[in-house]
Amino acid sequence: MSDFLGAGWSAYIALVTLVGIFWCIWLLFSVRKVKAVLRSDGEVADTGHVWDGDLRELNNPLPRWWMWMFLISCIFGLVYLALYPGLGSYPGLLGYSTDGALMNSMTTANDELKPVYAKYVKMDIVDIAADPKAREMGQRLFLNSCAQCHGSDAGGGKGFPNLTDGDWLYGGSPENIKTTIINGRGGVMPPFGAVLNASQVQDVTNYVRSLSGLPADDLKVARGADVFKANCIACHGSDAKGNIALGAPNLTDKTWLYGASEATITETLTKGRVAMMPAQDKVLSSEKIQLLTAYVWGLSNNKPAQVK
């Protein structure tokens, strides 16, 4: 109810509305009769108003119920304004609001959907993933809520993980995926631009590329290994295979969230990266999260034919 800047505006609008309605009623009654002029020559009375020299205004009366309709409209307006919000910031006797109506219809819709989801609430994620109906529902949920970042095919994009490749920053077990969806994740690669000098950055870049079999300069790789040990193993591990507890990526595989080119890795190293998966627990119901978990898990694990 903060549409108006102050109570004065609200009162002003309410006043204009009410005065308008009562003015209409007054007008209706004040002009329901017209002064007609009986002419000396004829039986036809006119109002005495003449336009363009010869257009006389006659009286062609409306049916009386028409007048009652006007009056009923005014009364309807007053009753409506008493019951519903409309008179300045007065909320109305029924306490209706569009916001409340939306909430109501969402609750109704969720109640209607409950039986559809009920079957899946107690089911195991792996079993849900094998259910074709659940996959369809999961896909629709995914397209609505997840595809904006992860893509319609769940293949991800630069900075947004691919969910189909079986490589998981925070773990690919059903429980891990569910946690990720419910709580979201915040991934941080700290910037090393202030810690490492330019040649050290180049060395680590080459080392990291060599880990996943990309072409690299042997000398720089050797030097980079030392820099890596000194700075990176805390998160990425001494074997550079990452750490799902921290969301630190495995650097030895061919999956690159931001890109594998020397320039991109250099940028990642010097400027760092900040990634965010938003929490969905406030957005999606637990039943929907259950189905989404199964769908996302199924993208890389579930081959329906094998499960059968």
Partner: protein, 484 residues
């Protein structure tokens, strides 16, 4: 009033007049004749169509069903989707043009014979006549003072019960166009209607009862816009229900044996039967009025009177203003029918109807929408290919299953895969349903410079109509982005 200068009325008295008046009930007298027969035929035809159509079935479903919830309109072999709204537009334009044409040629033919307001009023008046009697019996009955006699109660209750029955059946039929009528009738029999079905059933029953029983001519006089703008479509050569003033005036009663010419009288015997039969309560002898719905009841009535007094028929007849002025016969007035506005309407209607029918006959039931994923520009795959993601929606507006394949072209080395990264096989899309699938389209890095490229998707479908299959095709444009 030649000696009174117009515009300068000489007031002799100033009175107060109300701008509103109580409607005086009209008791149209029944009349038989050519136009009454025509109206009977048209009432029968329109009502057989209206009441009968929802009961027809076609391919195991209701032949005509406007399924608002599923957003599909079934009209015999045709299934229209919201995307086909252009046909509704065309139909409305055609109806409007047809109305213009009819009005230009012969006035308010629609009002007098086919308008639901006239048709239901006619049905209700017929019932009223059967139960209460004709004009004078009805006036006498309504004139009976309170308290009502048992007879009046009985007659009034019977009439309203029969009216309500017709009104209910009309409302029920109307809803039957939007909900399958057999499930609807079952729901009514088991008193298991949904709240909205019940609301609309009551609403349309009430509207029929109120409009045809009580509102009647007031709808035409005060509510219908057509009555008010018809005058711009009517000209001097339009055939209208017209009182032949030249022949009729001066009017007056006379004995049958008298020679009215020597009495200085015209052919109008001033019997006022034309006024008594008028369903809108006007006097046609006052000339063309916006209240005249062109029903021709006064023609039938006047012809009967003319026959009785042995004058030539047609004192009130369908003729044109020009014919009355120039004292022409209707045959020569007919020569003016083909005038520019009539020709223009006719040509325009023919062109539009042809376009409408051709478009409907060649309508492609395969529809495709391609939506590029907006969240991401593009992605690299294995360092060698660049990939864009699309959602493709395939809609099958036919009543047969379709086998659909999708191809993409417009760039060198384009490859198209489904969301699992596999080749897209034939996609089965069920009858009157649609399917959304995410697809990956990729090209080799280095084959094309960076930039935005227009590409197009070719969707080819086999519509399986029993023995043979029909080839359906659609091409849909989109953009492929290769980032720097």
């Amino acid at each position: 009033m030649p000696d009174t200068p117009i515009g300068k009325p000489i007031p002799i008295d100033v009175i107060e007049e109300s701008l509103y008046e109580v409607r005086s009930k009209i008791y149209p007298r029944s009349v038989g004749g050519l136009f009454a027969r025509w109206r009977f035929v048209l009432v029968l035809a329109t009502q057989l169509l209206f009441y009968g159509l929802p009961w027809l079935s076609w391919n195991g479903r209701q032949a005509v069903l406007f399924d608002l919830i599923a957003r599909k309109f079934y009209i015999f072999g045709l299934v229209l989707w919201p995307q086909d709204v252009i046909y509704l537009t065309l139909l409305l334009i055609l109806s409007a043009l047809a109305l213009f044409l009819f009005t230009a040629v012969a006035g308010r033919l629609f009002c007098g014979y086919a308008c639901p307001q006239t048709v239901y009023t006619e049905i209700f008046m017929w019932i009223e006549r059967k139960i209460e009697g004709d004009r004078f019996a009805r006036i006498r009955l309504d004139g009976e003072e309170w308290p009502w006699s048992v007879r009046k109660w009985r007659i009034k209750i019977t009439k309203h019960l029969v009216w309500l029955l017709v009104a209910f059946w009309t409302g029920f039929t109307f809803i039957g166009y939007f909900t399958p009528i057999d499930t609807l009738s079952a729901a009514i029999l088991h008193l298991a209607l949904g709240p909205w079905q019940l609301f609309w059933l009551c609403f349309y029953s009430f509207a029929t009862w109120g409009n045809a029983g009580f509102m009647r001519e007031q709808v035409c006089k005060y509510m219908c816009p057509y009555a008010r703008f018809q005058s711009v479509m009517v000209d001097k050569d339009t055939f209208l229900v017209t009182y032949d003033k030249v022949r009729g005036e001066p009017r007056g009663s006379r004995s049958k044996s008298a020679n009215h010419e020597s009495l200085g009288l015209g052919d109008c015997v001033d019997c006022s039967i034309c006024v008594q039969v008028c369903p809108t309560g006007i006097d046609i002898r006052d000339g063309l009025q916006y209240m005249c719905i062109g029903c021709g009841a006064c023609i039938d009535a006047c012809d009967q009177v003319m026959e009785k007094v042995e004058y030539p028929k047609g004192l009130i007849r369908y003729t044109t203003e020009r014919a009355i002025e120039d004292q022409e016969s209707n045959q020569s007035a007919m020569k003016h029918i083909l005038r520019p506005r009539v020709l223009f309407y006719t040509i325009f209607i023919s062109i539009l109807t042809t376009a409408f029918l051709i478009s409907l006959a060649t309508r492609n039931p395969l529809r495709v929408d391609v939506m590029r994923d907006r969240g991401a520009l593009a992605r690299e795959v294995d360092g060698v290919r660049i990939e864009n993601i699309y959602r493709i929606q395939i809609m099958n507006a036919s009543e047969h299953a379709m086998q659909v394949s999708v191809k993409a072209s417009g760039l060198k080395d384009l490859k198209i895969l489904n969301s699992q990264g596999k080749e897209i096989n034939e996609i089965a899309v069920g009858p009157a349903s649609n399917q959304l699938l995410p697809i990956k389209v990729s090209t080799t890095i280095g084959e094309n410079d960076s930039g935005n490229y227009p590409i197009h998707f070719d969707v080819i479908a086999q519509e399986m109509t029993g023995e043979k299959s029909i080839l359906r095709m659609r091409e849909e444009k989109s953009t492929f982005i290769i980032p720097r």
